[in-house]
């Protein structure tokens, strides 16, 4: 639910909606900027009480929205059975988080530019890299902003703009991303070499298992198992004896599949359960302001 949508609900005239939306956003900024000096005047204890209260209320909102029943049609027949009275406020709350994120992005970008400007001005070691960064930053920003404005029809889309944006984005940035991603293949090779060196029993088991899975999931595994060794393919027939059942499951593809689904997947799920419980406990500590690390 966006601000223009909310304003539309107030039945404002069509022409004035953009103005009202701008005023609401500016008003929110003024309110927040006014709150900062107000908070500064509070003693640390008072500030802490305020933060704890706001954190608790914000957490309570999401917890209440989740736990409150959604189907009230027995009492209110016209009510939507898929949501309770707090559900419509979820989206605006998430929008607030996005706005905070956008403000922080400005802070981050400012920090980055400031650091590299200092590098250049003070001619610190390797300041040439900072020049490259600043030039790339400004060029990309100009072309991106102009391209977005041209898509909205605010400025004319000239061939220079179109070609320039394409060179910078499609033929430079995307290709650099792909180059970095491709490097992972070589890093996997060097990391795997170290991990599979047989130095202990665990490393030996790791290497043996990895070889079985590697061969089992590629066509070579099926070729070795079913063509060279002549093992039967597919599921065993009904009422087959144990030896036939064994032969049907002894192919490398079957073994690799068993390792992935019966050994690997349960271990990963166990880790996921642990992570989920840990995250929930952490969330409870943050909600009740019991976590004192960075809060």
């Amino acid at each position: 639910m966006s601000i223009p949508y909310l304003i539309a609900q107030w039945q404002l005239p069509q022409q004035g909606r953009l103005l009202y939306a701008t005023l609401v956003v500016l008003g929110a900024f003024v309110l927040i900027l006014g709150l900062v000096p107000l908070l500064q005047t509070l003693p640390p204890r008072g500030r802490r009480v305020l933060i704890v209260t706001i954190t608790f209320l914000a957490g309570l909102f999401f917890a209440a929205e989740f736990f409150l029943p959604v189907d009230w049609t027995a009492i209110f027949p016209k009510d939507d059975p898929t949501r309770n009275f707090l559900t419509p406020a979820i989206q605006p709350a998430q929008n607030v988080l996005q706005i905070i994120g956008a403000l922080a992005l400005g802070l981050g970008t400012f920090g980055l530019v400031r650091l590299h400007m200092r590098n250049v001005v003070q001619k610190r070691a390797q300041w040439g890299y900072s020049v490259v960064l600043l030039v790339a930053f400004v060029t990309m920003a100009i072309f991106s902003i102009l391209n977005t404005l041209s898509e909205k029809g605010v400025v004319t889309k000239t061939p220079l703009l179109e070609r320039g944006f394409s060179i910078l984005f499609d033929y430079t940035l995307v290709q650099l991303d792909a180059a970095m991603f491709s490097l992972i293949a070589f890093y996997i090779f060097s990391a795997a070499y170290r991990a599979f060196r047989i130095r202990s029993v665990e490393a030996s088991i790791l290497m043996f298992t990895a070889v079985v899975v590697l061969i089992g999931v590629v066509p070579l595994g099926a070729y070795i198992s079913y063509t060279l060794l002549g093992l039967p393919q597919g599921p065993p027939p009904e009422n087959a004896d144990w030896w036939t059942q064994f032969l049907h499951s002894a192919g490398l593809p079957s073994i690799a599949n068993w390792i992935l689904t019966a050994l690997n997947a349960p271990a990963q799920r166990a880790i996921e359960f642990g992570v989920g419980i840990g995250g929930l406990a952490m969330a409870i500590r943050l909600w009740l302001s019991l976590e004192r690390g960075v809060t």
Partner: protein
């Protein structure tokens, strides 16, 4: 947009309530003086060793929360980095904190400044050491890899949420001979860290880190509550396996253990209306 609610699956909601209760009860127990045990985690014991090596070599320590957006994972990662910063502040070891999320960057600046203040060395804090590089995955990866190479870091701590870029960080650190300690909740990246780092903190050990390092009663109590919850999950998994073997996977009692609408199926089954 539709959202999940407790009413969709009361069983899951009860489980969440039980975990929350287990955590809170044990926090209260810990606060009232109960002695709680926490097992040794070698990766966390090695933090001091890595800091010591950086100090001896006079080379920086890097702390990387990855592409973690601001949330519980980021708070946990910053808590660990705050502890590490307090330790390095005693020896004036240089540090770099590199992040790919702007919100984490803003909070990290405050957390690191606090860490230097609490260590009694506010003069060592330099805002330029906490850097937001880029929120594009591989631009961030190349920025981190470049810094590790140029500054020849002696220790690298990677705690947070990582994706495909994890191996780029870990292998680059390995190339410059840095001691590397990693901890992540992204289980798909654990094998890469295990292969390339000296110590890896796996899964929920990541959330145990702050309790292990600080030994605060609240955190230790929370950890015991988490262990009780894990025991509940283990019992559910084992009993589910036994019951499904006996009565079949389509039985209402199995559906009750997780699927939406499981409670309705179970009540129908009890009333003789189901299978």
């Amino acid at each position: 947009m539709t959202y999940q609610h407790a009413q969709d699956n009361w069983f899951a909601a009860i489980v969440i309530g039980f975990i929350a209760l287990a955590v809170l009860v044990n926090i209260l127990r810990a606060k009232t003086g109960a002695q709680l045990y926490i097992r040794r985690i070698p990766g966390l014991d090695a933090i001091d060793e890595a800091i010591g090596r950086s100090t001896e070599l006079g080379r920086p320590v890097t702390m990387i929360p990855g592409l973690t957006t601001f949330g519980v994972v980021a708070v946990q990662a910053l808590t660990i980095f705050k502890y590490i910063t307090q330790q390095i502040a005693h020896f004036a070891t240089p540090m770099r904190l590199l992040t790919g999320d702007a919100t984490v960057f803003a909070v990290a600046q405050e957390a690191i400044a606090d860490a230097y203040n609490e260590a009694g060395r506010p003069d060592l804090y330099d805002a330029d050491n906490i850097r937001f590089l880029s929120d594009r995955q591989f631009a961030f990866a190349s920025g981190v890899a470049g810094l590790i190479q140029r500054e020849r870091v002696a220790a690298s701590f990677m705690f947070g949420e990582f994706f495909a870029e994890s191996l780029i960080f870990a292998e680059t650190g390995n190339m410059v001979g840095a001691i590397q300690i990693a901890g992540t909740t992204s289980f798909t990246q654990v094998p890469f860290f295990v292969a390339a780092c000296d110590y890896t903190i796996i899964g929920d050990e990541f959330y145990a880190t702050s309790a292990y390092l600080s030994r605060e009663p609240v955190l230790l109590g929370s950890l015991v509550g988490q262990d009780i919850a894990k025991l509940l999950f283990a019992l559910t998994a084992v009993s589910g396996a036994i019951i499904s073997t006996i009565v079949g996977v389509d039985s209402p009692i199995i559906k009750l253990l997780g699927q939406p609408g499981g409670w309705d199926a179970f009540f129908q089954w009890l009333q003789g209306g189901g299978q």
